[in-house]
């Protein structure tokens, strides 16, 4: 083998003539016509196409896969909401998702960043937003909320991963502040209002019957709601937050797949249960049953799908506990002493704001760090 052939000075591009000598690499000699495939290039001292840093093996997870799995996990709640609220829910969901995708695309183009509509995050944001809206919410308002969620909730921070607050909740907060009347006009599920179960034919007839949410009833009129309807969704409320069971199915799927940190729902719901339970034990007349607190409103939806949003929750185990407990405390304070009947949204947004600090304060001790301190 001549030196030119192997020496780096000759470079990859200007390959010297093939030396038919006996030391020529065998594979190249075997290939009679030099094919332009990778193998022949490899053995002719040219550069390989893929030179990259380790590791060369990759796990199967990817960002779109996570996003689409979360969407999948929301399907039971979505299907149930279609069943409960019919076309109104469907229109709201479709409008929110579509508007979110359009807003994402438009932001990408204006900001000249990679088009990220297909990674699923915009779809998820739209879907989550729709699930927090009452079924009769105006179409224009839904679209506006989705646009605000994407543009002000996510893109102004720099797109996916850079946002501090959960985008869907930003959209929802904007709508709540903008249209406080519309967003608190609740429709009863079709068959509940009629008192006829599984009578789909009548659902359009009762569109627009307004009812109050269990939390609203409790707060302003001191009327409790039975727990069973809370579990199965036969109550007034937002599109996606009426049935605890449908949400739990998806939520548990996420926990099993480890796309949601189990500590967050556990600490969040657990804190709500313990805190409100303590109050209930002190005065059962004044304070609601802790089970009611857990099952009503958007707590299950928030705890499993919104608080666990990876971008806006802490990465350290200790930080995650603090985050969940903080949300639980804020929620109970808002629900019991605050001016609003529901506080899931604000409790999550509030703790979202603390996440960067929590990540800093709760940096785990690295392997061997404790011993080092002891020795000193």
């Amino acid at each position: 083998m001549t030196e030119e052939k192997r020496s780096p000075q000759s470079g990859g591009e200007t390959r010297p003539a093939e030396d038919p000598g006996k030391t020529a690499p065998a594979p190249a000699a075997e290939t009679e016509k030099p094919k332009k495939n990778l193998r022949s290039r490899l053995f002719r001292s040219e550069r390989m196409t893929i030179v990259e840093p380790a590791p060369h093996a990759k796990g199967k997870n990817s960002v779109p896969r996570i996003m689409y799995t979360v969407i999948l996990a929301l399907l039971p709640a979505v299907v149930l909401s279609l069943f409960l609220f019919g076309t109104r829910a469907m229109i709201t969901i479709m409008v929110a998702v579509f508007a979110a995708m359009v807003a994402e695309y438009a932001s990408n183009r204006i900001m000249k960043s990679t088009v990220s509509v297909d990674d699923g995050s915009a779809i998820l944001t739209g879907l989550l937003l729709a699930l927090t809206l009452p079924p009769g919410f105006p179409i224009a308002g839904t679209a506006l909320g989705a646009v605000v969620a994407i543009v002000f909730g996510k893109q102004v921070f720099g797109g996916l991963g850079a946002n501090i607050f959960n985008p869907a909740l930003i959209g929802r907060a904007f709508l709540q502040a903008s249209f406080p009347v519309k967003i608190t006009t609740w429709s009863m599920p079709a068959f509940a209002a009629k008192g006829v179960y599984f009578d789909m034919a009548t659902k359009n007839a009762v569109d627009g019957i307004s009812g109050a949410t269990p939390l609203g009833l409790l707060k302003f009129e001191h009327i409790g709601t039975q727990l069973k309807p809370l579990l199965f969704g036969n109550i007034g409320g937002c599109i996606g937050e009426t049935s605890a069971i449908a949400l739990l199915i998806g939520g548990i799927l996420l926990l099993i797949l480890k796309y949601a940190d189990w500590r967050i729902p556990l600490s969040y719901i657990g804190t709500v249960f313990v805190f409100s339970g303590a109050l209930w034990l002190i005065n059962p007349e004044l304070y609601p049953n802790p089970l009611f607190m857990v099952l009503s409103g958007g707590l299950i939806l928030g705890a499993f799908f919104m608080a666990t949003d990876m971008v806006t929750s802490p990465v350290t185990p200790l930080g995650t506990w603090i985050y969940g407990i903080g949300m639980g405390i804020v929620l109970v304070i808002i629900r019991i002493w605050g001016g609003l009947p529901e506080g899931v949204m604000y409790s999550i947004l509030f703790m979202n704001g603390l996440v960067p600090l929590l990540n800093r304060w709760t940096r785990p001790k690295y392997f061997g760090e404790i011993q080092e301190e002891k020795k000193k």
Partner: protein, 192 residues
């Protein structure tokens, strides 16, 4: 070199001139401002009290009671109350019958509630015929044993008002303010 004397002189002069200008201004604008305030107050008192020929101011226990007399007979008492609303302090002028059993009139002096929602306590733009329907409900409302509210229904008792749907907190706040202050004012005036 010290220029302290100069500093003192210049600052003194500026302050003196400024003070003089402001004194002149005050003497010129104060009557106008006081006048306006008085008009406002009188207007509010007049709105919540029945016809009268004399108003007497009595201060007691932190309240200023405006007692309305007609032919030397006490026909009503008005006083200002305030309390927390949904997101601001609500200031109300409340006019009551002499025995505090009936509200003669209620006027909102200041509020900064959620626009379009809590503000309906003062003016409901969605109700074209009667924008002041909420506050007007308090006219001739009985105060005993206490005022209460109902939601999404017409009041059935003479101590009930209908809350604004979607602004229950603001509605509730007014009812609560009235209940507490009527009780306190009663004690202040020694009415059983």
């Amino acid at each position: 070199m010290s220029n302290t004397p100069k500093i003192i002189i210049v600052l003194t002069l500026i302050t003196l001139i400024s003070g003089a200008v402001l004194a002149l201004l005050d003497s010129y604008t104060r009557p106008k401002i006081d006048n306006y305030r008085k008009i406002q107050e009188n207007q509010a008192i007049a709105e919540v009290l029945p016809e009268n020929d004399r108003i007497n101011e009595v201060a007691k226990d932190g309240y200023v009671f405006y007692e309305a007399y007609r032919k030397h007979e006490l026909v009503g008492v008005a006083f200002q109350v305030s309390g927390g609303g949904y997101q601001s302090e609500l200031v109300l002028m409340l006019g009551l019958s002499p025995d505090f059993s009936r509200i003669i009139g209620l006027k909102i002096l200041s509020q900064v509630e959620t626009p379009g929602l809590g503000t309906k306590i003062e003016k409901d733009e969605s109700n074209k015929e009667d924008p002041g329907w909420f506050i007007n409900q308090f006219k001739d409302l009985r105060t005993l044993p206490s005022i209460s509210y109902v939601k999404n229904a017409s009041p059935s008792r003479d101590t009930e008002i209908q809350a604004i749907s979607g602004a229950t907190v603001s509605s509730k706040a007014i009812v609560d303010i009235l209940n507490t202050h009527i009780k306190k004012a009663k004690a202040a005036r020694g009415i059983e």
